[in-house]
């Protein structure tokens, strides 16, 4: 009997979806907008994360060594720093590499190149370029270097300077921007999702309100609550799934045509610096994941809204 009832509930739900044409279309329209908002938030979040990552990647600290610092001491420090969990990478640039990089960077500046030629020795020391997982972790690394100075056998310091302290204000500011962007993005997402859910829930509630007389009739002929509620939940789930499919289809042209409007983002970065996130490519590459999120949202939103809306008339 259980499976017969399930079959009947599914059939009635499908029939009700089909026969309540106008109500179904109106509900699907509103739910499509809701799910479009949810999907947009996924894209928005991806854009933000990409931009923040771009920003974060630009932050690093350099440890400049004195000219004659022994390489084994520098490599020992590199090894120590790499063992820290907060450190993402430590790149060693020898003094020869530093000179080569300097020359390449200033290849068009004849004055500097001439000055370098006049200095017989390499004036540049080796450098350790350190990146941490989060910008807020640089201070800890810098403090470690300050409290544990690398000394030569004679006891003189091998580290010339750590540029964190010169860039501290900029790094802190950047850190603040990144954190506040994440927080405001979360708050914005939450508000938009709640508003969309409220609209979709009220639409379904209204659709069920229209049928409240029918619910009372069903009760009078002795239908169980599950038997009354089932078809409404089925119809709600269909609304959600159809809306999710429409939203996914709409995202295709939207990301293709309007995607370029959203990058470079944030605007203070040049397009050459950002550019590893293109909305349309992101949509295609993450199609399965985004589809799953939107379909799941549609399924839960449709089913749960119907469940809650009918419950009121079954008391």
């Amino acid at each position: 009997m259980f499976w017969i009832n399930i079959k009947r509930v599914l059939r009635t739900g499908l029939m009700s979806f089909w026969r309540n044409g106008f109500v179904s279309v109106a509900s699907i329209l509103v739910m499509t907008i809701t799910l479009f908002v949810v999907g947009s938030l996924v894209f928005n979040n991806a854009l933000l994360q990409s931009s923040l990552k771009e920003l974060t990647d630009k932050v690093d600290i350099n440890v400049y060594f004195v000219n004659n610092a022994p390489e084994e001491d520098i490599l020992a420090l590199q090894k120590t720093l790499q063992s820290f969990p907060e450190v993402a990478s430590v790149e060693y640039i020898s003094s020869a590499d530093a000179l080569a990089q300097f020359k390449t960077k200033h290849q068009d500046d004849q004055l500097i190149l001439q000055a370098l030629d006049e200095v017989s020795d390499n004036p540049l020391g080796a450098v350790l370029n350190i990146k941490t997982n989060e910008p807020s972790q640089y201070e800890g690394v810098a403090n470690y270097l300050k409290q544990n100075p690398v000394l030569s056998k004679g006891g003189t310091p091998l580290v010339d300077k750590v540029n964190y302290f010169q860039n501290k204000v900029a790094i802190d500011k950047l850190n603040e921007i990144i954190n506040s962007s994440r927080k405001s993005s979360f708050a914005r997402t939450l508000v938009l999702i709640l508003a969309s859910l409220a609209v979709a829930f009220n639409t379904i509630r209204l659709a069920i309100y229209v049928t409240r007389e029918e619910i009372s009739v069903m009760r009078l002929v002795g239908a169980s609550n599950m038997y009354i509620r089932g078809p409404f939940i089925v119809a709600g789930i269909i609304y959600g799934l159809v809306s999710a499919i429409i939203a996914m289809v709409v995202f295709y042209p939207v990301t293709y045509w309007f995607g370029p409007l959203f990058y470079p983002l944030p605007i203070f970065l040049t397009s050459g610096q950002v550019g590893d996130l293109r909305l349309f490519q992101y949509y295609l590459a993450n199609f399965a994941q985004i589809s799953l999120i939107i379909l799941a949202c549609g399924f839960v939103l449709g089913g749960l809204s119907s469940y809650l809306a009918v419950r009121r008339y079954l008391r």
Binding site: V217, R219, L220, V221, G222, N225
Partner: protein, 226 residues
């Protein structure tokens, strides 16, 4: 079979729907409940359907207080009572066949039983050719016949009809009353509320008369006296 024991329903100090109403209904009886608007006729039916609970007193069905039923038993109980309303209360998105089939589905009948019984019952109420019509495609009389078919398809112990002819013309009214009579002759208890003197006089069955929530007459072969 049914026993109303000093049942009162008081909505507020100014609004008393029933006051100490006591009566018994035996199996296979045909009872008309008459009274002016607001006399308490519909409240009695709502009590019987457990849509309303008494302020005091109890309603018994086969010696069990129906207002103490748990939800599952309430559904079983309601399946033993067929109901017909003045405004038909059909499910608008279902055809005549589906409206009747729905009552059988909730009672747990198989698809084979439904396919065999529903056309037969609709045939009984003279709607054999309107099986697949939606309510909005039927006349008032036809809608009421569908409602009756739905009410009797599970062979209920009791058929309750709340002003079933209120929206019908005299000829259709007479036809509907004939159907009720036939159902009663087949052994179903029928409880009918009506304003229609002609129906009561025609039936020559037991009449309970209500006035302002009080039971003022209970005559075995009563007349419409108001």
């Amino acid at each position: 079979m049914i026993y109303f024991d000093k049942v009162s329903k008081i909505y507020s100090e100014e609004s008393t729907a029933l006051k100490d109403v006591t009566f018994t209904i035996e199996p296979k009886e045909f009872i008309s409940i008459v009274g002016h608007s607001g006399a308490g006729k519909t409240t009695i039916l709502k009590m019987l359907l457990a849509e309303e609970t008494p302020t005091s007193g109890s309603v018994f069905f086969e010696s069990v207080n129906i207002h103490t039923f748990k939800p599952r038993f309430m559904n079983d109980y309601r399946r033993r009572i067929g109901t017909v309303f003045q405004d038909f209360r059909l499910l608008p998105q279902k055809t005549a066949y589906e409206n009747v089939a729905f009552a059988m589905e909730v009672a747990g009948h198989t698809d084979e039983q439904i396919e065999s019984d529903v056309p037969h019952v609709l045939e009984l109420v003279d709607l054999g050719d309107k099986l697949w019509n939606f309510p909005h495609e039927l006349s008032s009389g036809e809608k009421q016949r569908v409602a009756i078919a739905r009410a009797i398809v599970n062979q209920p112990d009791v058929l309750i009809a709340d002003e079933p002819t209120g929206n019908l013309d005299p000829i259709t009214t007479f036809e509907i009353v004939q159907i009720f009579k036939k159902i009663n002759d087949l052994g179903t208890t029928v409880i009918l509320t009506t304003h229609n003197k002609g129906i009561v006089e025609f039936l020559k069955k037991r009449v309970i008369t209500l006035d302002a929530g009080h039971l003022i007459r209970d005559d075995k072969h009563g007349h419409y006296v108001l």
